[in-house]
């Protein structure tokens, strides 16, 4: 049952003593109700519930607070929001603090998109369908892949879906190989999705912060369905995947590469590494951090995998008059037709957030994306150099990185103390990777976006010096 403080805190705002059922979202007048009951031929609303056996009829009011006005509810919720503390953020590991152009936010607030369902009825859903088609197109262009879908829940589940495609494509294979340098949460999701169903999820160990070709080859064999890699990886390092795809394909497995899409204006994309499936999360494109969600999982693939793709896919076609039109296509793969034989159970996507990312990419364009990437890289470099000179700070690796690098505090305790010390100065200094995976104890990832200023970074360095002294 609810703790009493909770009931109190909300009740105290205002108790609604008027029981006249003034619920603004329910438009019925007493007259309306009478008219409708009469038409139905019953004398009360209760009669409409008489089919529910009394043993499963709730005989008391729900134990939640009485309703309040929107104004009061908003005030209460804003009070909660204000209990969160914001700071200058150098946090990354999948969620980044980039600038969001106001025009992108407007897309997120457009009622015709916000209040629509999945666009089953093409004739009155052309707007959404075209928007999603453009999202798919941008994903293809960005990743260098042939096909894409309407989006997935997030980057981590996109990895799980890529594994599902691979297991379907390689029916006899039973192993998913995943690099240790892939986000630990993505690896956890893969284990939760597969380990109880006879599929092995095995890790390729990392050497000096990166996956090695030899390390991967040692694990690869005929039972491998796919190899899942990530660049920039969890340490921020840009991985060199030269020769990887060939080695994977030699064993008839699929190469899956996850990338922060913000890096793709300046870094090699998945297609150019020879990936069969490209995945990631478009949160950096116009979406707020929002404690980790909603974001958007993206997936691109080579053309031959199109019919194995999960979720919704929008295709271009024509209407009866020969005009260009868009429609949800290849639905024969899907659960509402195939039921238990469907390729995936996915019924929804992150459409609205995907439209926002589409708008972001359109606003940025190729050169905006390149500039954002260059700025991220330049600023991350700047902070990296500042920190290198501070006693007590060791950088984990000298390998090339995009917008995130890793510090090595040698112990989790020291890393946490550093983060806490910086937190007291209003700076979120980095993510202790040891909190995500014990093997990374003491390693702390620091992310810098184009939104951070030189002043903020100078202050980071000054505070770090103080905290570590």
């Amino acid at each position: 049952m609810l703790p009493s403080w909770k009931r109190m805190s909300i009740k105290n705002i205002q108790k609604d003593t008027d029981m006249s059922r003034q619920f603004s979202y329910i438009p019925h007048t007493e007259d309306d109700i009478r008219t409708m009951l009469k038409a139905i031929g019953v004398s009360s609303i209760d009669e409409l519930f008489s089919d529910i056996p009394s043993s499963v009829t709730l005989q008391r009011p729900l134990d939640i607070p009485e309703g309040i006005s929107e104004h009061e509810a908003a005030k209460f919720m804003k009070g909660l929001a204000e209990r969160n503390i914001l700071g200058t953020s150098f946090l990354g590991c999948g969620i980044y603090d980039h600038i969001v152009p106001p025009a992108v936010n407007q897309v997120l607030s457009t009622p015709a998109f916000v209040t629509a369902y999945t666009p089953y009825q093409a004739e009155i859903s052309q707007g959404l369908l075209q928007g999603i088609f453009e999202f798919q197109s941008l994903v293809c262009k960005l990743t260098g892949m042939d096909v894409s879908n309407a989006s997935l829940y997030d980057g981590a589940t996109a990895a799980a879906e890529a594994a599902a495609i691979s297991l379907q494509a390689r029916r006899k294979a039973d192993t998913i190989l995943v690099s240790e340098a892939v986000h630990p949460f993505t690896r956890s999701v893969l284990r939760s999705y597969y380990q109880d169903s006879g599929v092995k999820v095995e890790t390729i160990p990392v050497k000096n912060g990166a996956t090695t070709l030899e390390g991967m080859k040692e694990k690869l064999d005929e039972n491998t369905a796919c190899v899942i890699l990530q660049t920039p990886n969890i340490f921020g390092i840009l991985e060199d995947f030269s020769g990887f795809a060939d080695a994977v394909h030699e064993k008839k497995a699929l190469a899956v590469i996850s990338s922060n899409p913000m890096s793709l204006g300046v870094c090699r994309n998945q297609g150019s590494w020879g990936a069969d499936i490209a995945i990631g999360d478009t949160q950096p494109f116009g979406l707020p951090a929002s404690f980790g969600g909603p974001t958007v999982g993206y997936i691109g693939a080579s053309g031959k995998l199109l019919r194995k793709m999960p979720g919704r896919i929008v295709g271009e076609t024509q209407d009866t008059e020969g005009k260009r039109a868009f429609v949800l296509t290849l639905q024969a793969r899907e659960q509402h037709i195939k039921r238990e034989r469907a390729t995936s159970n996915i019924c929804s996507n992150q459409a609205l957030a995907a439209l926002a990312s589409t708008a972001y990419l359109a606003m940025a364009g190729p050169y905006g994306l390149k500039e954002a990437g260059e700025q991220c890289a330049a600023k991350a470099r700047y902070l990296y150099h500042l920190l290198q000179d501070i006693p007590g700070i060791n950088v984990f690796s000298d390998k090339p990185f995009f917008n995130e690098f890793t510090l090595d505090f040698t112990s989790g305790k020291k890393a946490e103390a550093f983060i806490q010390g910086m937190n007291r100065q209003g700076i979120f200094a980095g993510v202790h990777l040891g909190a995500l995976d014990d093997a990374f104890d003491g390693l702390t990832a620091v992310a810098v976006t184009e939104k951070r200023t030189r002043e903020e970074m100078d202050r980071y360095a000054a505070c770090a010096r103080e905290v570590l002294s």
């Binding site: 909300i10 329910i26 453009e134 999701v189």
Partner: protein
């Protein structure tokens, strides 16, 4: 006039957004990363100006239907009004800007929000505790099936692999069960449109994992034998899973926990008014009975003397099922809705949702065949089978006729057990006038089917496109621009 593609309005040199001037030394990324790791050139995406982008999306919006535009009686989708206060609150910087890996003492507001929402949802459904990590209904089902498996594994009952799913169920149910490694057994509905306890008897052995049910079911009918079903499944050692898609019919009236369900998912984007967003983001919290709590995904949100914490120490947990903690922005909206509605409001919502559905059903049954003629809950199914035999007009033609009259079609061809099915769910937020307008439209369509079927066959008129060629789309898939 159809909106051009972004790629068609692109012009080299245009740019929609300016970044702040770089205030640190610039670096050449090709030198920095090395030729091997750097992009050869930027991706070939459109170059457009800000006004292009804004107009593009607003033009697309004008070519799209939503609850804010008109009546949307899509069955099993609960297209109720999406209160604007929800949107306003979720955009609060305090909620929107927090990073999932911030120090926990700096995210107390969000953790409290999640904890409070979990408590309220448990009270509304009669469950013990839950997770907010699943992103959608189907994701919730998948999580639920993982919980089943984990529960049986711990009990050493790994032979329990068969899962009963009624033939009227949502397609995601068998798909989720199958993907989680269960063998799906489909049982037909009886002549009442319900699951009969008798039909379960052949499967009550030690290979039974359990049953997935929606209650009320997809015909809009309350499964009146639920107590008996629940007893039989539990006696056989199985578990009951509740698909919460239809919870909007029974809030404050009947709780899945009291019905005997062990694991349930809710659809916050349906019952709790957070918008559908054109297909997402949604949220599909999973709530469980006591004995399954230890298996819930990590991390759990717990309240301690020193504040709220994310608790990762759950040895029996199924693990993580999404990247972070769920679609948090959606949770904010759902909690706001629950606060506004309160205990009476939620109950009243279910009462008026059922009232609206029964009013529509009664008003339509003179014209359309109603296969299960009894009190419905929040939705009902009619069949266009007779009209089809008489006139050639199908369920789809009826749907397209509605489009022409400014109404979103119902769910068509579902549930699969009713031929030419049309499934309507009006929700509680529609006025009597809207319902009457809809009834008139349906009657006019019925008349046209017999008098001027060609008008329906070619419907809709006046939309930006006529009926689209789905066969061509699937035969020669074109899923991105050239």
């Amino acid at each position: 006039m159809k909106t051009k593609l972004l790629s068609e309005i692109s012009k080299p040199g245009r740019r929609g957004y300016r970044f702040p001037k770089l205030d640190v030394p610039a670096c050449d990324t090709r030198t920095l990363f090395g030729e091997k790791l750097a992009a050869e050139k930027p991706p070939e995406i459109p170059e457009v100006s800000e006004i292009d982008v804004t107009r593009h999306f607003q033009n697309l919006a004008c070519d799209n239907f939503g609850v804010d535009i008109g009546f949307y009686p899509l069955g099993s989708c609960t297209m109720k009004y999406n209160p604007k206060v929800n949107e306003e609150v979720s955009r609060e910087e305090g909620f929107a800007s927090v990073h999932p890996l911030q120090p926990q003492e700096t995210v107390q507001g969000t953790l409290e929000m999640m904890h409070t929402l979990t408590n309220y949802l448990c009270e509304i459904t009669g469950m013990s505790w839950g997770t907010m990590q699943s992103m959608a209904g189907a994701h919730g089902e998948f999580t639920g099936m993982k919980l089943f498996r984990s529960y049986f594994q711990k009990k050493g009952e790994i032979s329990r692999t068969r899962l009963i799913v009624p033939s009227s169920s949502h397609g995601t149910n068998p798909a989720s069960a199958h993907l989680s490694g269960f063998e799906v057994i489909e049982v037909p509905a009886d002549e009442r449109g319900l699951v009969s306890p008798e039909s379960l008897k052949p499967y009550l052995d030690d290979s039974l994992a359990g049953i997935m049910l929606t209650n009320p079911n997809t015909l809009g009918l309350y499964e009146t034998d639920i107590i008996e079903i629940s007893r039989m499944i539990h006696d056989a050692g199985g578990l009951l899973y509740y698909d919460g898609a239809n919870l909007n019919a029974v809030m404050g009236k009947s709780r899945p926990g009291d019905m005997g369900f062990d694991v349930i998912h809710l659809n916050l984007h349906k019952t709790f008014s957070t918008p559908h967003g054109g297909g997402g983001p949604g949220s599909g919290p999973v709530l469980v009975a006591d004995r399954l709590v230890e298996h819930l995904p990590v991390p759990d949100v717990v309240k301690t003397a020193s504040g709220y914490k994310l608790d990762w120490d759950r040895p029996e947990s199924i693990g993580k099922i999404s990247g972070f903690y769920g679609n948090i922005g959606v949770l904010v909206k759902a909690l706001t809705y629950i606060l506004v509605m309160g205990r009476d409001g939620l109950t009243y919502a279910s009462e008026t949702a059922v009232l609206n559905a029964n009013y529509l059903m009664e008003s339509l049954k003179s014209a359309y065949y109603l296969p299960y003629d009894q009190v419905c809950k929040h939705e009902f199914v009619i069949s266009a089978d007779k009209i089809k035999k008489d006139t050639g007009i199908t369920a789809v033609d009826v749907a397209k006729g509605l489009i022409e009259r400014g109404i979103h079609p119902p769910t068509v061809y579902f549930p699969l057990i009713v031929p030419e099915a049309l499934m309507f769910e009006p929700t509680e937020t529609e006025t009597l006038e809207t319902l009457d307008h809809f009834i008139d439209a349906m009657k006019e369509i019925h008349r046209l089917a017999y008098e001027a079927p060609e008008q329906l066959k070619s419907a809709p008129h006046g939309t930006s496109v006529c009926r689209v060629d789905e066969v061509q789309a699937a035969r020669n898939p074109k899923v991105c621009w050239e």
